[in-house]
């Protein structure tokens, strides 16, 4: 989006802007859609996970409660029905709890006397005659850490128990029986629920879980209720509920399942969004092409018109752009008609000017010729015999005048001919400094009253130029400058590097030009000099133009005039290539 926006901002065309507009219009809704869908799915999955964990906790609590009821019923039955009839000889006493527990399905059963000494124990027979070492879980009497025989010693195991007072052979005793909340039972619960089930005694910092349960390595605080925890590189979502003041039931499921599902939904949503975006972009490309194509074509036509191409080509479009194209075509047609009329008029005007100038130029020498011939005729037709010596002098004077005027006529004809026959330049690498020195050398003798200065920049690149043509142009400028300073002054010729190539400046300190003179300076046959043809600067401009350069003039009345020729150097590369 930013790229399209940037493209539009940088003015990379109507199509780019249209595309950017499409993207800006299409992307936010798609993103919003994707975010909304993902948030919705995550929320639902989160709720489902929480519900599942909650149900798991309920299941564990129900199982513990069920065991507690079962233990309570069995212990009550033992106390009520069996205890009084059980033999109490020393040998039998050791095995009494084992037998009673087996008959009532209680893996834990202990008979304890009033002083807390174990009289008989099924799960810790080694403790008979010794003080019981069991501990209640804080806050509940049903859950206890029971000492249980294990391997070569004993271990503390969490148990759900029921305790009832009774009488055994006339001695008040306490009968305690129940079930282990051990790894086996928690493993069964875990398998049943498809989740990791464990118990955590925060007071003792102990986990009760199946042997390979990842929860056994967990470090989180179950009193927080729920959360996620990274256990051995796997993230689990867990929930906990108290079973006692310091005992918590904890259930956990790998968060990765939820995360993977969420990731799948996210990928699907993003895929759909990407497809929609692709479709929008494709549509945008097609539509923007259809809209921008005719506009771009119209722009090309307009550039063609600007360059002088007024040929009409129809632009295919049927909408407003088509209307614009048709209007543009009509305008081009009008322009072409106007230009043709203008060209025709200019051509007529040029011929007229040409005729006028030609008549003017020719009229000047013709009149003296005519006058000289008429003078000679009159002298010849005079009465009497003409004085031979006087006639000869008159004839010589008249013929000289005629010859002078004829030379003038020939000069005029040659100049016109030269202007008409100006050849295309033959470009070759030319050192401008050298050219300047060569041209100035021709004029130094004729400019005794003028001080000539040169300012040639060193190291200028050679310019592609026709030495003869460019020398003639420079000579014209120098001659004009010298003629503008008949009473002396300073002629300055400088070269310098400019951005477009090399600049050649010719300055004089003559009277300068008026604004009107300056604007008409390069018009053919326009001249401010007596006897000038007005073709000199036109020829200079033609030569410079043929070299791919340009000429400009700066003049201040009373302060002088400066002509600047700017010649490119890049044509050189093309010419060389």
């Amino acid at each position: 989006v930013s790229r399209f926006t940037e493209a539009g901002r940088r003015g990379q065309g109507l199509r780019g802007r249209l595309l950017a507009a499409f993207v800006l219009v299409a992307v936010p809704p798609l993103l919003l859609f994707a975010v909304f869908v993902m948030a919705l799915v995550s929320d639902r999955l989160e709720r489902a996970a929480r519900q599942r964990l909650g149900q798991g906790l309920d299941g564990v609590r129900a199982r513990v409660s069920g065991l507690q009821r079962q233990a309570d019923a069995a212990v009550a039955a033992i106390v009520r029905e069996k205890l009084s009839s059980t033999a109490v000889s020393e040998d039998k006493a050791h095995t009494a709890a084992d037998e009673l527990g087996a008959s009532h399905g209680l893996p834990l059963l202990e008979i304890i006397d009033g002083s807390g000494r174990v009289l008989s124990s099924r799960h810790w027979p080694a403790g008979v005659g010794l003080p019981e070492g069991d501990r209640e879980v804080a806050g509940t009497s049903d859950l206890r850490w029971e000492t249980v025989a294990e391997d070569y010693g004993a271990a503390e195991r969490l148990a759900v128990v029921a305790t009832r007072p009774g009488t055994w052979a006339g001695t008040p005793v306490v009968v305690r029986g129940g079930f282990l909340l051990d790894a086996t039972m928690l493993g069964e619960l875990s398998d049943l629920m498809g989740a990791e089930v464990a118990l955590r005694d925060t007071a003792r910092g102990r986990w009760v879980a199946r042997a390979d349960s990842p929860l056994a390595k967990a470090q989180f605080d179950p009193s927080k209720g729920d959360g996620t925890a990274d256990i051995s590189g796997t993230v689990y979502r867990w929930a906990a509920a108290p079973l006692g003041a310091s005992l918590w039931e904890v259930i956990a499921v790998p968060h990765t399942l939820l995360a993977e599902f969420t990731r799948g939904v996210r990928r699907l949503t993003l895929g759909v969004a990407a497809l929609a975006l692709l479709a929008a972009l494709t549509t945008a490309l097609v539509l923007s092409g259809r809209i921008a194509g005719p506009v771009r074509e119209l722009a090309a036509r307009a550039r063609g018109v600007g360059a002088g191409d007024l040929e009409h080509t129809a632009v295919e479009a049927s909408d407003e752009v088509g209307e614009l194209a048709r209007a543009f075509a009509s305008m081009t047609h009008e322009l072409r008609t106007s230009r043709e009329r203008l060209v025709q008029a200019e051509r007529v005007a040029a011929w007229r000017e040409m005729a006028r100038r030609l008549a003017h130029e020719l009229k000047n020498p013709i009149f003296p010729i005519q006058l000289s011939i008429e003078t000679l005729r009159r002298a010849l037709d005079q009465e009497g015999a003409p004085d031979a010596q006087r006639f000869q002098a008159l004839f010589r004077e008249s013929s000289d005048t005629i010859l002078d005027e004829l030379r003038s006529l020939r000069s005029i004809v040659e100049e016109f001919s030269q202007f008409a026959r100006m050849p295309p330049p033959r470009l070759a690498p030319t050192d401008l400094g050298d050219l300047v020195e060569r041209v100035l050398a021709l004029y130094r003798a004729r400019a005794a009253a003028v001080r000539i200065e040169t300012g040639l920049a060193p190291g200028l690149p050679a310019v592609p130029a026709d030495r003869d043509l460019l020398g003639r142009a420079l000579g014209n400028l120098v001659a004009n400058a010298l003629e503008a300073m008949p009473d002396g002054g300073t002629l300055s010729v400088k070269t310098r590097a400019v951005e477009e190539g090399v600049a050649l400046e010719v300055s004089d300190t003559g009277p300068g030009l008026t604004e009107e003179q300056r604007t008409r300076l390069f018009t053919p046959y326009y001249t401010t000099k007596k006897g000038g043809t007005g073709l000199g600067l036109a020829i200079v401009q033609g030569i410079v133009s043929d070299h791919g350069g340009r000429i400009q003039v700066q003049s201040t009345p009373g302060a002088g005039t400066t002509f600047t020729l700017v010649l490119p150097v890049s044509i050189m590369a093309e010419a060389t290539t």
């Binding site: 070569y152 010693g153 004993a154």
Partner: protein
Amino acid sequence: MALGAGRSALSALGPRYGGELRIALADAATRIEPSAPRGLAERILAGLVHETLLGVDEEGRARPALAQSWASAVDGREWTLRLAPATFHDGTPVGSADAVRGLRRFLRSESVAAVHLARVLDGGEEYRRGSTDALAGLSALDDARLVLRFRVSSAVPLAPLASPAAAIVSARGAGAGPFVPTTPPSARGVSATAFGRHVRGRPFLDVVRLSTAAATDRGRPDGGSADVTSGGVSLPPATGLLLLLLDPAAPPLAEGRARALIAASVDRGQLARHFLPGGEPADVLLAPTLLAPLPVSAARGAASLTPVSGRLLLKVASDVPQSASQRVVAHLAALGLEVQAVAVPAALAVTTAGPARLLVWYPEVAEAGLALEELAALAGAGPPVRLALEAADSVRDFDRRRAELQRIEETLRGTHVLVPLARLPLPLGARSGVHGLRATASGALLLENAWVEP
């Protein structure tokens, strides 16, 4: 009933040759060469494969084995042993050179009996240290006789020769016991066949197979129906000592008071009666058959009420009955100790270190003086005890020596490093139809006279 009657009739006919006896044990024997046994499996295997020059009876007196007779001279400091005509499993005759070679190897072994013999034998200590190969106290007179010369006179000079580590083997390592091993010992077990030219005659059984219980259960289609299993009805006499060995350098046992409380806390009567089938309470270190006990006075009831706190790692040998270990742990817990019991292989229970060890101890040689030397070594007893034992060994008068040994036993026990708890029989039970099994005071199983009904 007919079957039962048939079996009774077969039993009444007496021993028969043939048959196979399968013995399943908790641990496997890992070595077959003569050595001080490190567990029941090695004791049984040593008894099957090897033969010593002499045996000892319950009173420590020598009885014939590969040596058929012996005579003393020089005020009891020179003993000449005459060998019985016997053959090794590889068919070579047992000669005095074999006996001398066997005893020289024995003298440099880890056996406590070897230490004792080296101390009293002329040049024995220098030889044992390896400073010389000369051994003036031991030489062969001819092919059938060898002479042992002692530096000092000893009450039981020949008793060390009964150690399983002093068994005589041929130059190629073959034994001379009643059974010939057919497979090398491995984790699965070992098999042996009857040796027809055994010095006391061919045993009745054709084959004896020792295997670990796990291997038996896995390998047999009948689920491991061994003829003799550990954990069955125990085999008297009750000479195995359930011994609690406390390290006086490990807290909280560094205090003598704590060790004394622990020693006094265990109700040995209850332990033996309810947790060790066939066991007897043991207040002293040696069985009465080895050393008659002095009256023991101990105020146990009051002492057990005094708490002792701390953690205690208890290493329990795998041949200790679990119920007995659990009872001991319960007593220690009642004292206030937080006990962690971990099992260690029986063969390693004596050699492994630990703050507290519970093991079944059998003397290497069933003789009171040697047994006390072994216990003194086990307890890391200091020079006074060792000197007292040397002094007692030099007493030739039986009653005086016994009194000395009783005093030493009391001293050893008084440190409460060695806490005797109970005496238990060999934890092996045979199925019906197996006859003639006999356990020795050293915890070995004699199978020479064993036979099975077909």
